[in-house]
């Protein structure tokens, strides 16, 4: 059984995992809802970065990484995926740094970008999972179809071998009555056998075939 808590990440219904997850959510909540102590510093660093101060920019990005990582962790549990989100967010911050309005808090601006990139990553992950699921199903269906085709070919081949192994009189009775679907009188005229003899030959041919085919399948 799987269920979801507040996060979008499904977790196992193991009580230990649930406790760990809840603890992590509480920690994330308090970490992200409390503005950094030096929120005003981030504003200054961001404004300086817009003016081309590379040292201020590097300091801001380095200080923002743990903050972005906390947001990313709400959407992904895999360390590599979290780091991908962090890097995507840093690239977006770099590309969109002109959209920061000097004088406004930098924290919500960074948080919005980090959240958007985390959601994008989640969507991509879901899309990939769907495509992979569809491909797996298609592969199974193709394999199943091939298997069924193989079974049919194998059964036809077994039947041909069993027919060839029948005594000529039994094979002739089977050919006339079952394959060519002639009447007993007609078959009697064509084969020169009496009607009771044909019935008897057909019965024995069917029994032989059944035994041969069953034996082949059991083997």
């Amino acid at each position: 059984m799987r269920f979801q808590l507040v996060t979008r990440r499904p977790i196992d219904a193991n009580p230990v995992f649930v406790i760990i997850e809840v603890a992590r959510l509480v920690r994330d909540h308090f970490l992200t809802s409390t503005p950094p102590k030096d929120a005003a510093r981030w504003q200054d660093l961001m404004a300086a970065a817009q003016q081309g101060d590379q040292r201020a920019y590097a300091t801001l990005l380095k200080e923002a990484v743990p903050f972005i990582r906390v947001i990313a962790r709400r959407y992904q549990s895999n360390t590599a995926a979290i780091e991908d989100i962090v890097q995507e967010a840093l690239l977006t911050i770099h590309r969109m740094r002109h959209t920061y309005e000097p004088g406004r808090p930098a924290e919500p601006w960074i948080a919005a970008i980090a959240k958007a990139r985390a959601i994008d990553a989640l969507r991509k992950h879901k899309r990939r999972a769907t495509v992979e699921g569809e491909m797996t199903q298609a592969a199974f269906a193709a394999e199943d179809g091939t298997q069924r085709q193989d079974d049919k070919l194998s059964a036809a081949s077994d039947l041909n071998i069993a027919l060839a192994a029948l005594p000529p009189s039994q094979r002739a009775a089977l050919q006339l009555l079952k394959i060519e679907e002639r009447s007993l009188a007609e078959a009697s005229l064509v084969s020169g056998q009496s009607v009771p003899a044909l019935k008897s030959l057909l019965h024995r041919a069917m029994q032989t075939l059944r035994t041969t085919m069953k034996g082949g399948r059991d083997a």
Partner: protein
């Protein structure tokens, strides 16, 4: 993972050049709306029946529909500009709701009056195809103008932003249309307006999905 995060930061910092911060979003939205509304007013003055339309203003359902469409259109475009900026409240998405409600109530009352009091019977469902073409014809370039204004800041909330831009542009076109035919909308008219506005909004959503897939 492409590269080490610390190395990425060093690379980004070394590439950082001075950038010009965008103007305040309200100022940008105001300038865009001023340009769009001026162009629309000039168009209505030259080609429409603005004088006749203004004589209907005292008729409550007509003015409710007109004012509702204008408020919703303007607030949708302001909301699109605000939402395109990271960190702004996501509640901006509801900004066009009051105007939209007014527009639907005004149009609904007028339709009801036309059916009950005037015994309106639609001749054909396509009687208002010119209105449809007008809303799309005016709304599409307006939506493109909003997109051009926003494209430099469009990194998050893309679908919402473009949906609001499409909705706002279509509603402003519907407002202008009221000055072109200068009469209360009958049910086929109003239905056509609603469908055209919905279609332009849907088209904008579709474009955002395709562009950011």
């Amino acid at each position: 993972m492409r590269e080490d995060t610390n190395r990425l930061i060093d690379r980004l910092a070394s590439e950082a050049k001075p950038v010009q911060p965008l103007q305040a979003p309200l100022l940008r939205a105001g300038l865009l709306l001023a340009a769009v509304l001026t162009a629309m007013a000039a168009f209505a003055g030259l080609n429409g029946h603005a004088g006749e339309a203004l004589t209907h203003i005292a008729h409550l359902p007509y003015s409710t529909e007109l004012i509702g469409a204008a408020i919703a259109g303007i607030s949708a475009i302001v909301a699109a500009v605000m939402l395109a900026i990271p960190g702004r409240s996501p509640n901006w998405v509801y900004a066009p709701a009051p105007g939209l409600i007014l527009w639907l109530i005004g149009g609904g009352i007028e339709c009801q009056r036309q059916i009950v009091e005037l015994g309106y019977v639609p001749a054909t469902m396509f009687a208002s195809r010119d209105c449809f073409a007008f809303i799309l014809g005016v709304g599409l370039p307006t939506a493109v103008a909003v997109y051009l204004l926003l494209r430099r800041s469009l990194a998050i909330n893309t679908t919402r932003v473009l949906a609001l831009a499409g909705l706002g542009a279509a509603l402003l076109a519907a407002t202008l249309l009221q000055f072109m035919h200068a009469h209360g909308t009958n049910p086929v008219d109003f239905g056509t307006h609603v469908v055209a506005v919905a279609l332009l909004t849907f088209f904008a959503i579709l474009l955002s999905r395709v562009a950011h897939r």
